[in-house]
Symmetry: C2
Subunit: 430 residues, 2 copies
């Protein structure tokens, strides 16, 4: 029994923003690799891409119908249609037809190049065959303003316009634009490989039967799902014994392959908290003996013991073993780090303001990050704090859309208060 | 030149909701497969999962400190601490210590089982060593209400409580719960395989140099990214010639491997629209000759020619070749279909109400689905229509968060109006 008081309770709590800055300042986006365009969705661009042509590249028909000179059909009406001689036809993919002289028209299909001389397309439904005379002709039954049903060359993009740049997450719409401009392959940042290590003598493998006083390691699989949800690759290391030297070796071995190690458990002030011991009494000659501590306590509830260090030059994030605190620590600190390594230029949580749908009455010495459901009703965005909000609890995790930030203080926040709601920076699903 | 009017313009426009019902009613979730728990994030469960034990499974210490009998420490204060004899110690993972008799305490670590007889845990910081007497003892400097710092057995879940059921998308929080209850493997629905076929004689491969009147096939790669974003597997078939028999063969071949075919282009009323021709004049003996048309026009802008059929018993969704209309058709029709096949029980777009940040002045005979950015300001959710909104346009696609539904009519909708904003049903990123 160790009743000795040590420095562990004096670990200085670093504000969340400062902890994020320290983490992000010690990593760079991972090196670039080449992928085919169609695999680029959700990846982060490692190049500057620009319009390689005007877009559309030619004046393009937006409708099936007839290319005409607007002034020829100014007086057209259903009762008094204008008769135009049809001098040709152009389908999508064909070179433009011959130029239009006054009194002529060209049959044109959607997407085809509008011939010189034409300045409007009359839709097929507003025309009629001109009868069985020898020469092809059409009756135009409606007038058309100049420009009607034509997308002029360069309407959307001018050659040289920026399409997407370094650190931009590629949405399906970017993929469409890059395809239109001929980018068959893309340079994107490599996906981070994140190793996950659980500590705690109480942990059983997920497949084991429960034993008195023990629980299963559910955090490793949860972290794997969170990591995969960031577009990164999880590598599960399993459960480490509560032995600093063994954990030191396991982390060092993982860092030879992985870009980052995420641990869960053992980071609090208990006598047997192995991660805390590694930071403060590292085994001689091990990887942690030369570690740089980035922070060893974070000014937040839950998850205040969350710590981080640079070990062998790579980040090790130490999350709580309590499921709720582990989740919150991941969202606020591990996700931004992984997104930055994946190449993102906007890795921090997105903050929106929401109306608190129920009071949060607990006072807190640190900002509190409350798991919440977000919903909009009548144009108002609400954040509803979920039950089972304690650090140790997991019942509220599946329904969590956002974390509501309740400022530190003695009061909490009343129903109706406007609070910050934190959402993941970028959701790889879109 | 074919000036003959045919039935193509009389294709009946089916409301979007009805088109969705017809599509969803002809598919089932795909068969189940087994995956390890840690790979289950974002998948759709094909089983009922329940709590296999009370949770927590034993009364659990939430803090490091001393397990005590609350009535023993009722009068404790810093000036007049209560001295308790320490009869043992229990760490996380150990069986509970011996039961507490009056006047005794047990040193306890976070996560450890609280011994019988104890009904509160006093945090270590509120205690002090009791000095150097022979027998171990502790001074308790604060009272503790019964239950303090203890998570009672069954507080979060009772054995038999439902955790997640068929069709539920597994968030990281579900994975945590399933791990805690011993589900090392999960039955989830197989991911859909979606083949993508582009039609249109104007299409060049993405890697080709532009030619007069031609454009690159950018929709195939965009659809691949959209499909991957649904958690499905895209298979690119490339570009088909404008030849109904060749397209018929390509679709039939793809359906032998894929669960669904998504086409883009050739679905309008033009003379050479190959998908429309396949539906109405299918080559004898081909797969489309026995197709069941689900709908051949959808009451929406953009994307009204969007069609669908059952071919060889599997769905074929025919999207517009215009990038904007292709995107909208995917979101409203293809995404729900893919999510249903992936197992989702909530595959339709999520609808929230947002305040229109700028007017939409265009009248429309059908509901209009306007690409928009969503943002919250002061607790109000705004939808901002994006520029470059035409069917043919792709400039607005990367910034699209949601589709605003502007009801059909002569007026559009004014700034400040409350409109429906449609978001993807479930975002695999969380």
């Amino acid at each position: 029994m160790d009743l000795q008081m040590d420095k562990r309770w004096n670990r200085r709590a670093v504000p969340v923003g400062e902890a994020q800055r320290r983490l992000l300042s010690c990593v760079e986006p991972l090196p670039a690799e080449t992928v085919p365009l169609w695999e680029g969705g959700g990846r982060y661009l490692a190049m500057q891409a620009e319009a390689t042509a005007d877009w559309p590249p030619f004046a393009r028909a937006g409708m099936d119908g007839y290319a005409v000179r607007a002034e020829d059909v100014r007086a057209a009406s259903p009762d008094s249609p204008v008769r135009l001689r049809v001098i040709g036809s152009v389908a999508a993919g064909e070179s433009a037809a011959a130029a239009l002289a006054p009194g002529t028209a060209v049959r044109i299909m959607t997407g085809a190049a509008v011939p010189d001389g034409a300045d409007a397309v009359v839709m097929l439904e507003q025309t009629a065959p001109a009868g069985a005379s020898g020469e092809p002709a059409v009756l135009i039954k409606q007038p058309a303003d100049p420009g009607r049903n034509i997308a002029p060359r360069g309407e959307e993009f001018r050659r040289g316009d920026a399409i997407a740049g370094p650190g931009e997450r590629l949405a399906p719409g970017h993929i469409a634009q890059l395809g239109a401009f001929g980018y068959a392959e893309l340079r994107v940042h490599r996906r981070p490989k994140a190793a996950v290590l659980a500590t705690g003598a109480e942990l059983l493998p997920v497949g084991a039967a429960l034993e008195p006083g023990r629980v299963r390691d559910s955090n490793s699989a949860m972290l794997a799902a969170l990591i995969a949800g960031c577009g990164a690759e999880p590598v599960l290391l399993g459960r480490a014994p509560d032995d600093p030297a063994a954990v030191d070796r396991a982390v060092a071995a993982a860092l030879r392959e992985a870009d980052v190690v995420v641990t869960t458990g053992g980071v609090s002030v208990g006598d047997r908290d192995v991660m805390a011991a590694l930071l403060h009494r590292p085994p001689a000659g091990g990887a942690f003996a030369k570690a740089r501590i980035l922070f060893e306590r974070t000014a937040m509830r839950p998850g205040s013991p969350t710590s981080a260090a640079l070990v062998d030059g790579k980040p090790v994030i130490m999350l709580s073993g309590n499921p709720g605190a582990c989740f919150v620590g991941f969202e606020l600190l591990a996700r931004p780090l992984l997104l930055r390594m994946a190449g993102s230029r906007k890795p921090l949580p997105r903050v929106v303001q929401a109306v608190l749908a129920a009071p949060v009455n607990k006072p807190s010495p640190h900002d509190r990050y409350v798991r919440a459901r977000l919903y909009a009703e009548g144009g108002v965005l609400y954040g509803e704090p979920l039950a089972f909000a304690k650090s140790s609890m997991m019942a509220s995790l599946p329904g969590t859309d956002a974390l509501l930030r309740i400022p530190s203080g003695s009061a909490g926040a009343p129903k109706g208060a406007l609070v910050d709601a934190l959402l993941p920076a970028e959701c790889p699903g879109r």
